[in-house]
Symmetry: C2
Subunit: 213 residues, 2 copies
């Protein structure tokens, strides 16, 4: 049985590989705005779960022939911070100016990282069981100096990631700690994935490709 | 200026590389039992700090000529769990039988990971400033099934690591979360290292070897 990862994220792939799984990669190309627009007043948790589900569903037809017995996982992550009008989703900054502005609020503060996963088990090429779940983890940011922030932004690393930071890259220097699952902050929660796999009757150890030492 | 890592740990090296630093590796060969024996009734925090300091000091003469302007970092980590007589240090299990016994207590429970770092700044080959610090992080373990635990132990991965688990390997499936700095659990705390570097007048960004994107 293979794990199919419906995501192009190199960070998610790295987490799975470090944890003993070499997944099949099948990128979904879901229209995230359309998924969000179809929901009526969703909570942030509803939204990440719906997006993760849409991504997993979207790759089924493409992989059913090559991987008829598989578990497909869709993933979505959002960082939310408390703004003047309540919790707000913090997206990718894209530019240095926006990233610098974000860090002015993030420095010394906390944010909540929501990670949603949807798992679909395929049996003989047909969807058998479907589950989804959401994990919330608090991230506590450090306070980079002006020179540190300038150097960090100049690398380009924070510009194209949600929230403008990475725990698993240069941004790790500026995260004081987390309260919750660190793998969920990188993009795929190992303990949540393990629980969801068990709900569809699959033990994670049966997906390990690393050989016993 | 170079960072000299006084440790043979591949996990520590991987954390530093992911965070943009390619350190010089100089393994210390410190007699840990002798360092511990020289202390009178030390706390666990005193012990990790003393061991980290001893490791950093031990490599100075070996690297002073090749790296006269450098920061040397020594690291030590311990996992402690609350036993019947108070907190007890949990070492490497070495055998499957001991690891299985440990996991019987660890499953569903929490432990405290103490990480100590000592930093010595060398200027023109001479020790200039010395600092040390300790970081404590709580690790909350999941509950592997009998079959999962058997498969995990069979890989050999948990046998040669303190506490019988790794956050950055297969063990990541069985850690529900942490409360504190995840990099400290892997073996080198990025935020603590950044603070200690600042105390000896070095900004971590000046040690980054990754080029701006």
């Amino acid at each position: 049985m293979r794990l199919v990862l419906a995501s192009a994220s190199p960070a998610r792939l790295a987490v799975l590989r470090a944890a003993g799984i070499e997944p099949v990669i099948e990128v979904s190309g879901v229209d995230e705005d359309a998924v969000a627009a179809a929901l009526t007043d969703p909570s942030h948790a509803d939204l990440v779960a719906a997006l993760a589900t849409a991504k997993a569903e979207a790759v089924l037809s493409a992989i059913a022939q090559d991987c008829p017995d598989a578990v497909v996982i869709g993933c979505d992550s959002m960082l939310s911070m408390t703004g003047p009008d309540g919790p707000e989703i913090v997206g990718k900054p894209h530019t240095e100016a926006v990233a610098r502005q974000r860090w002015a609020s993030m420095a010394g503060a906390s944010a909540e990282l929501l990670t949603g996963h949807a798992i679909i088990r395929l049996v003989d090429g047909t969807p058998d069981r479907r589950v989804a779940g959401v994990q919330a983890t608090t991230v506590r940011f450090g306070t980079p100096s002006e020179a540190e922030l300038t150097a960090y932004l100049a690398t380009g690393e924070p510009l194209l990631v949600a929230g403008g930071f990475t725990l698993d890259g240069l941004g790790g220097w500026f995260v004081e700690g987390v309260d919750g699952d660190p793998s969920s902050v990188v993009g795929i929660s190992l303990p949540l994935t393990r629980r969801l796999l068990a709900e569809v009757g699959v033990s994670v150890v049966d997906l390990w490709t690393r050989q016993p030492g």
